[in-house]
Subunit: 102 residues, 2 copies
């Protein structure tokens, strides 16, 4: 069973993603979000495809919205109704995918 991040994990793993990784906490929900802007739709969807393949492999999927060159992503773990280590791992993969796709 996936567990919510502990206080210590939030300090050690979540905080760096917020302070330097471009993620933000979501109001009213234990989740994190980030928006990505690419050059065009092809670049945005190439990024989404990269993330989709990685997400499926780790069996943890994003909530995401796309319009043209913009992709807004929210991460949270359904099974524990909040942020888990899976979200940390996926956020890091997403940041890496974004730097590859740009």
């Amino acid at each position: 069973m996936v567990k919510l991040l502990t206080s210590e994990e939030r300090t050690l793993k979540l905080q760096p993603l917020i302070e330097t990784g471009g993620w933000a906490l979501v109001d009213g929900r234990d989740a994190m979000k980030k928006s990505f802007v690419f050059g065009d739709f092809v670049q945005a969807f190439a990024f989404m495809t990269l993330v989709a393949l990685k997400a499926e492999k780790m069996d943890h999927h994003p909530e995401w919205f796309n319009v043209y060159n913009r992709v807004d992503i929210t991460l949270s773990t359904h099974d524990c109704q909040g942020l888990s280590s899976r979200d940390i791992a996926l956020a890091e993969i997403i940041n890496q995918a974004a730097s590859t796709a740009k």
Copy 2:
């Protein structure tokens, strides 16, 4: 320049998509929306990939949200700030892609 659908086009082309195609008008905005549910994320993203390739080819892109097996799509045309013939064409392509992906 892309133009808004005329009243006649709305009756002849938009209405069938609403009455039998599963699309609905969006409140407070000249746009249409439809939600699709697939068996899992792989099927949902396969559908999105089909639509992405067609959308890029016609240079008209959806606004869409995905979480796991669900894809919510909104169509409207940025250039004319409302529904145009491009949205009709893309809605028909999307309905066809959904029946292929399922």
